[in-house]
């Protein structure tokens, strides 16, 4: 097959098959370069993988991103502190609650704002609900990438929908919640809402049992995902990987335990760890984490005290934190999400920087994919759990 001449060349580099001479290629054979994406069914957004294939085995993989870059950090530096709050929803648009919380946390650190008890509980509840709906849709997408046509995904989305309904009745929006404020939350939760949330949480383990019975020990799923895309703990630590991807390699690092931010030290929950660091571990760790999240939610929903939902002394308008810097981080569903802020005493942050877990977890993609087949690359990417809104910002 000769290189095709008629492809557009300016916007997109031309992908040609290399003639012999590529190192390691067998005499008379050619390696094939395939550009997976940016329009590909399983790149989870506008993301591209330039893959070099020997047969179906990957010999080189270059992740290409930036298609969704929209100047998030610079825009945040030219608007007020509060003005960026709804914009953080759009980072990882699956998990707006945790994005809000991480940003609020760093501003609270910067300005030294106290958060009332009730607000802390609300934050834990919404964050854990966010984790549930993120993980549940992730495992649905992952199994979909393995070729289980829609069924597990639809089951997962049925559960996610219940949680999104809760968010909607709480904040008015299903995904772009814009719910947290510096020193608390935007509005209070009602007793009704807590009851609703309790019923959702109580029903959740049944769904997990059903889902696991459906697919977790399926022969095909195990054959597809075990010993695939192995990540060594040393590399994971070196690369700064965090979240379920890191814990699947066996490294015990969960910010909810390590930092104990918010009021996580009050709740009983365990941190599941994997031993192999492969795709199956990443899948199972998320399932187990959901079971732990349910435990946290049960405790938090039962114990939530009365009181202020936002610190009445916290100023929203004309908010000027004192000069200084702060880094607030939380265990977002995808990993460590941090916001680094420098204040020069003006109403706008001097520097605003996001540590996006999706991007940093994505850096090890090639290491995991080398030597695997093209079909594995798809599920390895799926198991990292990226959202392009956060990778590109």
């Amino acid at each position: 097959m000769t290189p095709s001449p008629g492809r557009p060349t300016e916007a997109m580099p031309q992908f040609e098959m290399h003639a012999t001479g590529v190192e390691g290629a067998t005499e008379g054979t050619e390696r094939m370069e395939v550009s997976m994406g940016p329009h590909h069914p399983s790149t989870h957004g506008v993301f591209r993988m330039d893959v070099e294939l020997e047969g179906e085995t990957i010999t080189k993989l270059k992740p290409v991103f930036g298609y969704l870059h929209r100047n998030h950090e610079k825009i945040a530096e030219s608007t007020s502190y509060l003005g960026s709050m709804p914009y953080t929803d759009r980072l990882d648009y699956f998990n707006s609650m945790t994005n809000n919380w991480a940003y609020a946390l760093s501003v609270e650190k910067l300005a030294g704002i106290e958060v009332p008890e009730r607000a802390e509980y609300i934050r834990v509840i919404t964050a854990e609900l966010t984790r549930l709906q993120n993980h549940v849709s992730l495992i649905g997408f992952l199994v979909q990438d393995m070729g289980a046509l829609g069924t597990p995904l639809m089951y997962a989305f049925r559960e996610r929908e219940r949680i999104l309904d809760l968010f909607e009745s709480l904040s008015g929006a299903r995904m772009m919640c814009n719910y947290m404020r510096f020193g608390g939350c935007r509005c209070d939760v009602s007793a009704d809402w807590i009851k609703q949330a309790q019923s959702v949480v109580e029903a959740f383990p049944q769904f997990l049992d059903e889902f696991e019975a459906l697919i977790s020990e399926n022969e095909v799923l195990m054959a597809r995902s075990q010993h695939v895309g192995i990540l060594k703990p040393e590399l994971a630590i070196d690369a700064g990987v965090a979240g379920p991807v890191l814990r699947a390699t066996g490294v015990n690092y969960d910010l909810r335990k390590v930092d104990g931010y918010g009021i996580y030290d009050r709740f009983q929950f365990r941190v599941p760890l994997g031993d192999h660091g492969d795709v199956y571990d990443r899948y199972m760790i998320r399932v187990l984490e959901m079971r732990e999240s349910v435990k946290i939610l049960q405790q938090a929903l039962a114990e939530i005290p009365n009181g202020d939902y936002v610190n009445p002394k916290a100023k929203l308008r004309g908010f000027r934190p004192p000069p200084g810097e702060a880094y607030g981080r939380i265990e977002a569903p995808k990993g460590e999400l941090g916001f680094y802020l420098i204040s020069d005493g003006s109403p706008k942050p001097y520097r605003y920087r996001v540590r996006p877990p999706s991007l940093i977890n994505l850096t090890i993609l090639e290491d995991m994919c080398l030597g695997q087949t093209i079909a594995d690359a798809v599920i390895i990417l799926g198991s990292i759990d990226i959202v392009l809104g956060e990778v590109d910002r």
């Binding site: 001449p5 069924t151 599941p272």
Partner: protein
């Protein structure tokens, strides 16, 4: 049998109305017409059925907007497909690109010509019917490769390469498991195969040790032959967009789709013919119901089984699929062939039942045990971090 006789009488009447020189052609045309129309219609209904069933499996409604309960959805799809622009890539090999969907559909349709739909209701009653079926079925591999090669698209090429490897590998267990039936019946003609199962449900081949295993092997190979989930790796959507069909649009794409559907019906009809008594009723008392009804009933239940599998199973990887074919399907179909040989040698009866049943049973469980012990895949248990040992 009245229904079959009626159809044949109508055909003879129509043929006799034609001028003498046209009669052979007219006769062939009249034999083809019902097959092409009924399977075309069945395909339309099957797409709707598949989408509806998948919808129910997936906790949603499926198409329900066009016509009562979505019944007219296939018509809407057809109109949409026909009016879509037909795009041929600039660098594609136009002739091959054009011929591929036709070749696929023709080879699928030809297979139906040797299937007996009822007593004497067979378009092409040749002595080597099953040989013909597999021979034209093999042409579909060529058509798929033409599609992959002619499109000049890397995904299409990868898909076509996968398809060739997969279909050739699974053709062997497919034919070997069909061979067991032919050995016992002693004829390559599908009419004879059906006739051997005419005595009611207990004479069906699936209710013998070799027929049971053979039927399962045949069905699995069929899934691979027609590229259906969980063996749909040639067109694996999440990996290869649409495999060899990536560069097809409009009516050519519809032809591909239709060819796949017809190939599925043909394989299901062959399964029913070989193992499930073909057009015969399960109990002789029910034989007043026409043969084609029984055959289509059996065919549809097999299609439903395929849809069910599609709604539940993830997809294997290409190399694992090959491994399954060569390490499990092939040995098992050879063992099954031996079991069928024992059956023939002992001429049926209790001794044949016990010996061939035992052989298959031991071979299946023994071999799967050996394979599963060698397998690296197993359910896992997970540990939890201790409270104190928080490390950074």
């Amino acid at each position: 049998m009245w229904f079959e006789e009626l159809l044949i009488a109508i055909k003879h009447y129509l043929v006799l109305q034609m001028p003498g020189s046209l009669q052979p052609v007219g006769s062939a045309f009249l034999s083809c017409l019902p097959i092409m129309t009924s399977f075309g219609g069945l395909f339309a209904l099957a797409t709707l059925l598949e989408r509806k069933m998948l919808g129910r499996i997936q906790n949603r409604y499926g198409p329900n907007r066009v016509g009562p309960g979505g019944l007219l959805q296939p018509v809407a799809d057809g109109i949409k497909m026909l009016t879509k622009e037909d795009i041929v890539p600039k660098n594609a090999d136009h002739l091959i690109h054009f011929l591929a969907p036709l070749g696929l559909l023709v080879s699928a349709m030809l297979g139906l010509s040797v299937i007996p739909f009822g007593h004497r209701l067979i378009a092409l009653d040749i002595e080597t019917g099953i040989l013909f079926f597999f021979a034209v079925g093999a042409a579909s591999e060529l058509a798929i490769f033409m599609a992959g090669w002619g499109s000049r698209n890397k995904y299409a090429l990868l898909g076509a390469l996968r398809a060739i490897a997969q279909m050739i590998s699974y053709e062997i267990p497919l034919i070997l498991s069909a061979l067991s039936v032919l050995m016992v019946v002693g004829s390559l003609s599908l009419s004879d195969v059906v006739q051997a199962q005419s005595g009611g449900i207990h004479t069906w081949h699936i209710f013998t040790p070799w027929g049971f295993l053979g039927c399962i092997l045949f069905l699995i190979s069929t899934l691979a032959e027609i590229n259906r989930s969980p063996f749909d790796i040639p067109e694996a959507e999440s990996e290869l967009i649409a495999g060899h069909m990536t560069e097809y649009s409009g009516f050519k794409y519809a032809l591909f789709f239709m060819a796949e559907g017809v190939a599925m019906f043909a394989m299901c009809a062959l399964t029913a013919t070989l193992f499930l008594g073909g057009y015969h009723a399960p109990f002789p008392i029910l034989s007043f119901i026409p043969g084609p009804v029984w055959l289509f009933g059996k065919l549809t239940s097999l299609v439903l089984l395929f849809i069910w599998i599609r709604g539940t199973m993830p997809r294997l990887r290409a190399d694992q699929l090959m491994e399954f074919a060569w390490k499990f399907m092939l040995p098992m179909s050879v063992v099954n062939l031996i079991a069928a040989g024992i059956w023939v040698a002992l001429d049926g009866g209790v001794a044949a039942w016990i010996s061939s049943g035992l052989l298959n049973f031991v071979a299946y469980f023994g071999w799967s045990r050996i394979l599963s012990q060698a397998s690296r895949f197993s359910p896992r248990t997970y540990r939890y971090a201790e409270e104190a040992g928080v490390s950074e």
